[in-house]
Amino acid sequence: MKDARVAFGGVRALDGVSLTVQDGQLLGLIGPNGSGKSTLLAAISRMIDLSSGTLTMEGRDYTNAPAHLANALGIARTFQTVRLLRTMSVLENVMLGAQAEWVRRGPLATWLWLSRARREEKRARRAAQQALERVGLKDLGRRHPQELPYGPARKVEIARALACEPKLLLLDEPTAGMSQAEREEVGILLSELSKDGLAQVLVEHDLAMIQRVCNRVVALNFGQVIAEGLPAQVAADELVREAYLGHRDAGMEASAPMMEIGRQ
């Protein structure tokens, strides 16, 4: 992402942000509430348009590609709020990720291509089950999302994104509201994924978690990058302390306001 700008009316949610994520890199994205973190993820995943700047993925410019093509390029994401479909089982929710490749063939192929469709169904089911196992929810596939506690529900969303077999995973506060034990599990999972070569951007308010798992950190404030570097460096940065740590008492650990970006 290069020199990206996004404006909502008068608010400059992103004001000239440039960012690169390498394979296997786990990039932490921090910043106070409203600093533009979610907007940044929405821009990378093409949920919202840039007013200027460019997006490239593996050398390909996709600044103007529709959102579903961003996923086809290998970008998967989770959202800041739980967005599981209540009318489906947990496994079926994860299958939505596992079937993404097949869905790209378009509605007619998925509707009418009978024998191939059956094979794809089996494959997607297996892949979804594997993704659930990966996040440690092996036995919850048949439950419905509304029966799950908050922590596992958020893990299902990570499983759904992983089931897309992405090259770049965007996580918007995946551990907000989780217990300490669950946070640690997720931290370990993300580190493992990073070792497997997956590029990740992790938006997270929990600085301890950032320090533990990330190998690079970018701090945003008012839509601009105010610091960038190794976790320890950024945490020690004057500007970051001022902008961000000052808010600590104001409830950084509390789950952030439930705001959805780019919904029409």
């Binding site: 995943s45 949920m47 529709p66 959102a67 579903h68 961003a70 996923n71 086809a72 998967a76 994401r77 959202f79 709020t81 739980v82 967005r83 479909l85 209540r86 009318t87 489906m88 079926e92 299958m95 939505l96 990720g97 079937q99 993404a100 490749e101 097949w102 869905v103 790209r104 378009g106 509605p107 007619l108 998925t110 509707w111 009418l112 469709a117 059956r118 794809e120 169904e121 997607a124 419905h144 509304q146 029966e147 759904r160 897309c164 439930m258 959805e260 780019g262 919904r263 029409q264």
Partner: protein, 309 residues
């Protein structure tokens, strides 16, 4: 032998009712397939009108073979349906509903005023009876099979995602626009089929046939039966064609009964009557869990309320 004789005499007495149920089933499918995909479109009724004129006039004026006339009517409506979906691509929920109702009413106005083609207020009469109940029955079976496929597997899940949370669907590679277009076109074709068969079976078309009343009737069938599945639409078509005939004695009160049914179902059984059948079925197979009822109503959350949060 006795039973066969009694079945055939029952059939002879009720053939018109059965024909009407089958035709309304196609119309109800047309509305249901859109609603299930989160598209609050009532354009199926407009295509019912267009399909009836197209097929009726091709058979009557051009002496086309029935099958060709029906196919031509359906293809015409598929094309128009696609064009309409492109035109209305940005509209959702209530706005889409209003725009498609406006489309239906416009079709009626055009039919009324284009006298040289449609006969205007006199209607198109004297169309030769050119379809059999069996043909319509087979068509309904075929349509039901296609819709059943559309509710399952990859495409079934995808359409639910499109309905419940478009943005999420996009993040999972779903080209939302294509899926909405598909549902729109299928809906148009089913509406056209219903209209074409109606014209070719009952021999006349009035410009007022596909008016506001038909819109309400079709929507009521789907809401009362249940929009979550084609089976709901079929159940709704059966009930709302059959009950008024059984209850002719209440005459003018029918509209009130109708409204009351609608309110009761919408309030207490948002999944439609078919959801009761599904729940009962699961219970009898011993798979009932306390959460089933809750889930049934979650499954039935109307598309307008898809906050997706």
């Amino acid at each position: 032998m006795q039973t066969i004789a009694s079945i055939s005499s029952w059939y002879a007495n009720n053939e018109t009712l059965i024909q009407e149920i089958l035709i309304y089933a196609l119309l109800a499918f047309s509305i249901q397939v859109a609603l299930r995909s989160g598209i609050f479109s009532l354009a199926g009724v407009g295509f019912y009108a267009i399909g009836s004129y197209a097929a009726g006039l091709l058979v009557k004026e051009q002496a086309w073979p029935t099958a060709l006339a029906v196919i031509a009517a359906v293809l015409l409506c598929a094309l128009l349906g696609w064009a309409l979906s492109v035109l209305l691509v940005r509209l959702r929920d209530l706005y889409l509903a209003l725009a498609t109702v406006a489309f239906d009413l416009m079709v009626g106005v055009v039919a009324l005023n284009w006298s040289s083609l449609t006969g205007g207020p006199l209607g198109t009469v004297g169309i030769p009876i050119s379809v059999t109940t069996l043909t319509i029955f087979i068509t309904v079976l075929g349509a039901a099979a296609m819709l059943a496929l559309m509710q399952r597997g990859t495409i079934g899940r995808t359409l639910v995602a499109v309905r419940e949370d478009e943005q999420l669907a996009r993040s999972l590679s779903v080209n939302v626009r294509r899926y909405r277009e598909l549902a729109f076109v299928i809906s148009s074709m089913l509406g056209a089929l219903a209209g074409a068969y109606h014209a070719l079976l009952f021999t006349d078309i009035q410009a007022t046939d596909a008016g506001f009343e038909l819109i309400v009737l079709a929507l009521t069938m789907v809401v009362i039966g249940g929009f979550g599945s084609w089976t709901g639409a079929l159940l709704g078509a059966i009930l709302l064609t059959w009950i008024p005939i059984e209850l002719t004695s209440i005459g003018q009160w029918w509209d009130a009964v109708y409204g009351a049914m609608m309110i009761v179902v919408a309030t207490f059984i948002p999944g439609g009557l078919i959801s009761l059948v599904t729940i009962a079925g699961r219970a009898s197979r011993g798979r009932a869990r306390p959460s089933l009822l809750r889930r049934g109503s979650a499954a039935a959350a109307p598309p307008a309320s898809s906050s997706g949060a």
